[in-house]
Symmetry: C2
Subunit: 417 residues, 2 copies
């Protein structure tokens, strides 16, 4: 019991018997083996991990209210969170085993339920909400009001929104992604624990079954409507698109100096009326989406990655891809060429008391400028998308995502200097 | 689009590029490869699958209210569910693609979100609640009242219970377990859809990170208190214990003729006050559990699987394993030798509105006689277990689990003949 709590993984090597492995595309196919280091995504770098990282299979996302009024305590929290995130993503526990006061008489520094599990590509991504810069009454809580990026404002109301305040907003956010849900839950839990007295969980969301691929190495997954989702997503390999549509650059009107190299995150909890959808004919479903179900090809022809032909007409001179089809309304060609990097997850939160599943899509999108790229797109979708009959937005939040952390630094440090 | 919707797995073989693999102990270690058939657990057999099956990593559990008054419709539902379960566990969809009325003009028979995914050891296990035999007003709804097994009665109130009616009871239950949560959710969703008009979801629960191993091939996992759980569980390999404590046998006082070869399932949603636990010293935590955290060894000495020495005293002649330690109070030696087969899962259902995680253990136990084996044990735990300060039971249900299904039969058929 006086042993260091470095994980079993590190004591015994990743091939040790008894270690449960959550494989992924890259990690567990018949012709490629996951080396131990494949389980670790580097925490430090120019950008935060968890954005262009090939999307992991599971998500635990939490939004926090900051409960302290002290700027020093806020900074101390960010330093502690950074250290804990660097440790956990590398496969270590968040601390030694009761080491502060000698063994045994203190609570364990780590809660332990991930002990012996591999990190399974754990990434932890931090963000700052509008409330950190100014509270609802306009108070400059931490002396940050004049450093608020211009685009970090609450999203406008969109047609059809039915937002639950208890599932919206937040001063801070943490996105934990891993191929193992117990590892992702462990991460959020231990960060929440470290925040005790400084920040409290406002809402959280679990997700499974990523709904977008963020790398050319991944197949396009399916959402709970049974259709492929995110075919034309921005991918990690598209450096030019990332620079144009994801990473904030010095001099951006919408940004602030400290956000250089960062991004914005838009989170939307989208309930899907899946029982209603399931009673809709396949023909209607495909007309609504604008793609065929099986292959995910545009109804105008071709295969999944064929560019849709929005001009092509069918019977009665009507466009084959309907004017209200989701594919058309959401397509960059209909939105001034805007792209976003989506990184959402399916969710099922039990039942809703009416015998229906409380299920849907937890939409996460990284964007260089939410006002320029997300708001016009969502305005367009809210007005015209045929899918609106089957979905309802029930939660919403926006965060500024600081650049990556250098060794020895802490997340968001540029904001506080 | 006129192709059969047999899964991609079957068209292209399991090693096809682009198929995401969720590995498990047996399926994805460095020295053993998952053959395609390792992903399939046989549906048909003497007992239902999902009981002694080596516990999968993910759970979706649903309890249903039967909404029809027709015995024929109830039987038809069980037949349809059986056919769908046999198909899905084998890696097929639940039906052809709009085949009833030709392609396209009917809703798809399968909702599609598991299309292209491997079954990942999917099992689907069905059960019958007390309400199927007699409703709350004492009505014999389906002519089954005189066939109710004696032990199929609502559990008594236990000290400390704080049960939510909306998370308790149910006429029917379905336990779907898989190493892939999207596959488990897909199964429950499609069964709920088939039940439309006949049965409605009353409550459901998702779980991750099995909290018990049910086979000697599995390492003991950890619960959300960070401790190993289920070290002395009944395992698939222990045929004698299974016959004594899990399978109902002809002539059992507590049973009924049609339940021969079946079992009972007790489900309890146990919320864990993990934030309070996390502020408790390691010494206190280990004293409450009766085992050390790291190895899971009894505090009386040895290793994880060493038999606890409840007589051994330490300082001041006090027993080393406290009289209220969970290990002692729950141990078969303190409960007339009763064993149960536990098959629970960790859960995290977001936050509870007070900044704490709504998290805990969804306890599932299979037992030959809940009145003889579970009720005395739980009475003992509710009165004496030191862990009660950190947990609260918030949901409860009991179901009779019919024997396995033969090819061509349907689940529970013996009850209706």
């Amino acid at each position: 019991m006086t042993l260091s709590r470095r994980r079993f993984l590190h004591l015994a090597g990743a091939g040790a018997a008894g270690v449960t492995v959550s494989g992924s595309l890259a990690g567990c196919s018949d012709d490629s083996h996951a080396a131990p280091q494949d389980d670790v995504v580097p925490f430090h770098g120019a950008h935060q991990a968890g954005i262009t990282t090939a999307a992991q299979d599971r998500l635990h996302f939490a939004a926090f209210d900051v409960t302290t009024g002290s700027r020093d305590e806020l900074v101390a929290l960010l330093k502690s969170w950074t250290a804990a995130a660097a440790a956990m993503t590398a496969g270590h526990d968040v601390g030694e085993f009761g080491a502060m006061d000698g063994p045994y008489v203190a609570p364990p520094e780590d809660t332990g339920e991930a002990y012996g599990l591999r990190p399974a590509r754990l990434t932890i991504t931090f963000g700052f909400g509008p409330g950190l810069f100014e509270d609802d009454d306009g108070n400059d809580r931490f002396g940050l009001a004049d450093r608020r990026p211009a685009a970090l404002v609450a999203l406008p109301h969109f047609a059809g929104d039915n937002l639950d305040d208890a599932r919206s907003g937040g001063d801070l956010c943490v996105q934990a992604c891993s191929d193992d849900p117990q590892v992702a839950v462990h991460a959020i839990r231990n960060l929440a624990r470290i925040g005790f007295g400084t920040a409290a969980v406002r809402w959280s969301q679990l997700g499974f079954g990523r709904t977008s691929s963020t790398s050319d190495t991944q197949a396009t997954p399916r959402n709970l409507f049974g259709f492929k989702d995110g075919t034309s997503n921005v991918k990690a390999e598209q450096t030019e698109q990332l620079n144009q549509f994801v990473w904030v650059a010095a001099g951006d009107d919408s940004a602030a100096d400290w956000l250089d190299g960062g991004s914005y995150l838009v989170a939307r909890r989208i309930n899907m009326h899946i029982e209603t959808w399931d009673r809709t004919s396949l023909q209607e479903q495909e007309a609504i989406i604008g793609r065929d179900n099986k292959e995910g090809a545009p109804l105008s022809g071709g295969a999944e990655f064929t560019t849709p032909d929005f001009e092509r007409s069918g019977a009665g001179d009507q466009p084959i891809i309907a004017t209200t089809a989701h594919l058309r309304v959401a397509h960059p060609a209909q939105n001034n060429g805007s792209h976003i990097l989506r990184r959402g997850y399916n969710f099922t939160d039990g039942s809703n008391g009416l015998g229906n599943l409380d299920a849907g899509l937890f939409f996460l999108a990284y964007t260089r400028d939410p006002l320029r790229h997300f708001v016009p797109l969502q305005t367009n979708l809210a007005r015209h998308d045929a899918l609106n009959e089957y979905i309802q937005h029930t939660g919403s939040a926006v965060f500024a995502i600081p650049a990556g952390v250098a060794e020895g630094g802490y997340v968001g440090s540029a904001l506080f200097t």
